[in-house]
Amino acid sequence: MRNRVVITGLGVVAPNGVGVPEFLEAIRAGRSGIAFHQELADLKFSCQIGGIPPITEAHKHQYFSELQLHQLNSSGIIYGVIAGMEAWQNAGLPVAGAEPDWESGIVFGTGILGIDKIREAIYKVDQGQVRRLGSTAVVQTMTSGVSAYLAGMLGCGNQISANSSACATGTEALMMAYDRIASGQAKRMLAGSCNDHGPYIWGGFDAMRVLPYQFNQTPEQGSRPMSATASGFVPASGAGALVLESLESALARNATIYAEVLGGHVNSGGQRGGGTMTAPNPVAVSRCIQMALEQAQILPSAVDVIDGHLTATSKDPAEVSAWCDALGRRGDDFPYINSLKSMVGHCLSAAGSVECVAAVLELNHGFIYPSINTENPHPEITSLISSDKILKQAIHKDIQVIAKANFGFGDVNACVILKKFNHG
């Protein structure tokens, strides 16, 4: 018998909004967080636009102590800790006293952490100044840095870990947290992921020519998932965090329940059958979605909305096709489908978490956020599904089930099925 798992806390640091209230308003309004960055132009990037959350000094001082801020040079830790702390506070959970909270754990993933701190350290080491690195070069750059910071700040005493599966990281973190609670090994898990910003993160993608270079003067139009003129993903950064909790624990403490995690699945295409290091095996994508529905015990017809991965590359039509195959639905029968990346860009390893937070907000507030920049949907997509299913503006709608998926380099997939929680 598996425990039912619900979501009771949300935190987010996104390019179009820091904190849940600001983010909710932004995604309802279809507001872009993509901007031109002079630094990228100076460094001769082809793509000079990106998504950086508007973090202020006040935000930092709200969540970090003076000592923690001393020599802190890791944007991923700043985003991750702010999102994680917001989610914990939002859930109304206390900070542990002298005794650790043995029933609460953290899975907070990332792709790479503290790239600016790594750069700082490499310069010093190469100059023979290793003894001047200071005491935090390790904790600011270890993959488990955010989970370690948060565990200390909150006093969590269950599993404290960090997962990494490229752009599927955030959704996978949620599934890991779900499994731990469903199997009875923890009562509460803080699940999230983050990604640093900046040229040292984004440079590799620019070199691969997968970022758009045509929108340096019109940054807000640069991220165009599902569009006929989609020409690459806009690099971004940030963090998302969700508190998962057993239904029993949530009800016992009378917590606000935002949604239920019905189930999900993670898999890989094995880099076979069309799958490569950078492209997904379409059979694996469909299978991941189908297995997620099966575990959630939901029929494909029950899915109201798909919050896709949809990055704005040439792979978008293939993703829509995989959803059609997995659900056995197309044309007018297809669910609504959207991409948060149209507003925030591709937050890389943070994408899954930021997008899961958005999905929970849709269920809880009864709306579907728009996919901006979809005036001209890709003809291969409109040959599969009705163009009415791609919303240019948010709509109010009471929705029950969202399928949320993310796919990452290495041919890895993660899909989670979220349901509105109906009391009683």
């Binding site: 000592l67 001393h70 001047r132 200071g134 005491s135 935090t136």
Partner: protein, 85 residues
């Protein structure tokens, strides 16, 4: 060279950001222990040594750093290094 009181004043500004026990910091004397009294995280002693090096343009070798556990020992080490310059 700075007087002992001046050295203590400079040292106080250096250690202040790392202090976890404000009360002990207010009553700081030469006998004050960085870890036991001021509750400074042992990892941060490295940062304090680096900040001292910068403030006085001296280098604190590993052996000295191991001895630098109280306000008094820190002052002795700083004086020694300044005299040796």
């Amino acid at each position: 060279m700075e007087t002992k009181d001046e050295l203590i004043t400079t040292l106080k500004t250096i250690v202040k950001p790392y202090v976890q026990d404000e009360q002990a910091f207010q009553n700081l004397t030469e006998d004050t222990d960085f870890i036991k009294d001021l509750k400074i995280n042992s990892a941060n002693l490295v940062d304090i040594a680096l900040d001292v090096e910068e403030a006085y343009d001296i280098e604190i070798d590993n052996e000295s750093m191991e001895r630098m556990l109280t306000v008094g020992s820190a002052i002795d080490i700083i004086r020694q290094k300044l005299e040796a310059k």
